[in-house]
């Protein structure tokens, strides 16, 4: 699904191409979105929603990030500062040349979503991979049914993609956006509470659900969904693992016999139940 067979023969999949960062947007105190193009201002690759790319500052390191959106001539990656490479990425300025390779991973099963109502549930930076799918649904609005987004973060400052959440998405026809933060805060008059409880409160009908967030949020949201009668093959999540090669060869991102970089990162609950719980 990633590169075509002909392309595979030409490019060395482990060597990145040179690209540049044309824009950096500060989403929250520790999350920035990087807009990336090739040196001649084109998209480095054309990703499907949910696919990943390996971004590198070669002198420091290389890591896999999900593509949060794509434009006519660029791709976007929302990156949280948690380690050596991401801290360095947060220090760079617009115009920085970086290495990029991709697209990797299986992406969301768009055909399965066509014509259906979709519920998107995100927590913290977990909204990033799901956003690529939401943007795809909005771009081709007529192909999909009612869109609902439930998103929560620790605090108001930690909410990612504020412009989308509060300005752009509420304006989209037949789309509801529900935002919550963990604790009461001055200047916030929206919902307060954890995402799993909010989802139960909103009492959705069983429908296709895309869910991504910190392990603890997934742990509590899943039983809530199952209680509400959601089917296993309708609950879809995207996983994260330490990755190095990105092409299913170095062995470290495996869950059972699946490689998250190649057979994932998008998995249905049905598929995950068959795999050993090691993620």
């Amino acid at each position: 699904m990633a590169v075509t067979v002909e392309q595979v023969k030409e490019i060395n999949p482990l060597v990145p191409i040179k690209a540049k960062v044309i824009k950096i947007v500060q989403e929250t105190p520790d999350v920035k979105t990087f807009h990336i193009t090739t040196m001649d201002d084109k998209k480095p690759f054309d990703p499907l929603p949910g696919q990943l790319g390996m971004l590198s500052l070669p002198a420091i390191g290389e890591a896999m990030f999900s593509v949060t959106n794509k434009g006519e001539n660029h791709i976007e990656m929302a990156i949280k500062s948690v380690g050596k490479l991401t801290e360095a990425l947060h220090e760079i300025e617009e115009g920085q040349e970086v290495g990029i390779r991709g697209p990797y991973g299986n992406g969301f099963p768009l055909d399965y979503f066509k014509g259906k109502d979709i519920l998107f549930i995100g927590g913290g930076i977990g909204l990033a991979p799901v956003r690529s799918l939401i943007m795809e649904c909005i771009r081709n609005r007529e192909n999909y049914g009612k869109l609902s987004v439930v998103y929560g973060a620790r605090s108001k400052a930690d909410l990612c993609f504020k412009e989308d959440l509060f300005e752009n998405w509420p304006k989209v026809p037949n789309m509801d956006v529900y935002v919550t933060i963990d604790r009461e805060e001055e200047g916030w008059d929206g919902h307060v509470g954890f995402v799993p409880a909010y989802v139960e409160e909103l009492a959705f009908n069983p429908q296709v659900t895309v869910l991504c967030g910190p392990p603890v949020m997934i742990k509590f949201t899943l039983p809530a969904l199952q209680k509400m009668g959601f089917a296993d093959q309708d609950i879809i999540t995207t996983l994260e693992m330490r990755m190095k090669c990105g092409i299913g060869k170095c062995g470290r991102c495996n869950i059972g016999s699946c490689y998250v970089c190649l057979d994932g990162p998008v998995f249905t609950m049905e598929q995950l139940k068959k795999l050993p719980p090691e993620y």
Partner: protein, 330 residues
């Protein structure tokens, strides 16, 4: 069969060395491994080499590409590819099977690893049959015939005082013709092999392991393990690798190097989460990978029965004993 007296083998190797970089099993600094042939190399033909031939195709440290990073600018440069034709003499059936496993990993499932493919394509293989099992060998239990390697260009037979050659592939036929001047045609019989000391009954083990992820057996067998990487590094089929950079000022090289699933840092994520935090999970993953995950994905076991891990593990973690425990477990 075409044969030559064993003591005249260096003549064959000398002749081949004119056209190929010939790699032979030899003792080097006290350790047996495949080394480039030269007149004073100490050939070792009575036992298998300790360091597996995987490092000829998948070196322990390999340079991938160069880069220059200064302030905002970055230059990436691919490294020139070696063109030299290689020939490995004396590769055993178990190690040939391991190359089959590595081919599955590096050459299939959508992406082709250029570094591995390049070396694999320009290397010819002359397999050597084994005369008797070493004490830790159990290749037969893993479906490998010690006297007939699969995937070689030429199968050489160790006939005690003589060595016989049989071409298998077209490339092998060409090589045989090059050295035919030194060989004589003779009727030979291949010596019988002998009983294996170690055996492993893997019938049904991949299937049985499917229900054994939470089984208490893993807590039991992992207690002894030191979590070093000795088994993974001497194993001919283990292929996990890491990618790192070596930087000097502005210039750097991106390298690929062996890594081991036994190390704690292997699956450590930047945010702090580690799906395999203790040695029980890591030991379980190693044996699951060998006996269940790899067969599920590629329809072949990831163990060829060479026995190197059994000999070299400092605390004698024995895969045949573990297979036995799995078979006997409830």
């Amino acid at each position: 069969m075409k044969i030559i007296a064993k003591e005249r083998l260096p003549e064959v190797l000398q002749l081949l060395a004119k056209d190929y970089n010939v790699l032979v099993p030899a003792k080097f600094e006290g350790v047996t491994r495949f080394t480039p042939y030269s007149g004073d190399v100490e050939l070792v033909l009575e036992e298998n080499v300790l360091m597996p031939p995987k490092d000829i195709f998948f070196p322990q440290t390999e340079k991938m590409y160069k880069f220059k990073a200064k302030n905002k600018s970055l230059e990436i440069e691919e490294l020139p590819v070696e063109k030299e034709e290689q020939l490995i003499f004396g590769i055993r059936s178990c190690d040939l099977k391991s190359l089959e496993c590595l081919d599955q990993v590096f050459l299939t499932k959508g992406y082709v690893d250029h570094f591995y493919k390049d070396k694999r394509e320009r290397t010819a293989l002359i397999a050597l049959s084994c005369v008797r099992p070493q004490e830790a060998c159990f290749c037969h239990s893993m479906g490998v015939d010690p006297q007939n390697g699969v995937g070689a260009d030429i199968q050489a037979y160790d006939l005690k005082e003589k060595i016989g050659f049989k071409a298998i592939s077209e490339k092998g036929q060409e090589i045989l013709e090059k050295i035919s001047g030194l060989l004589a045609e003779e009727e030979v019989s291949i010596p019988s092999f002998g009983e294996f000391n170690l055996k492993a009954d893997i019938e049904g083990v991949p299937e049985k392991l499917q229900g054994m992820f939470e089984h208490p057996i893993w807590a039991d067998i992992s207690r002894k393990c030191l979590n070093c990487g000795a088994c993974t590094y001497v194993c001919p089929t283990c292929h996990c690798f890491d990618i790192d950079s070596e930087v000097r000022g502005e210039d750097g090289v991106k390298i690929r190097c062996w890594d081991s699933c036994m190390f704690g840092e292997y699956t450590q994520m930047a945010g702090g989460h580690n799906p395999r935090p203790t040695k029980k999970e890591r030991v379980r993953n190693r044996f699951m990978h060998k006996l269940r995950y790899f067969p599920e994905r590629y329809q072949m076991l990831l163990c060829t029965g060479c026995g190197r891990c059994v000999i070299k593990c400092p605390v004698n973690m024995d895969i045949t004993a573990i297979i036995k425990k799995i078979k006997e477990a409830e």
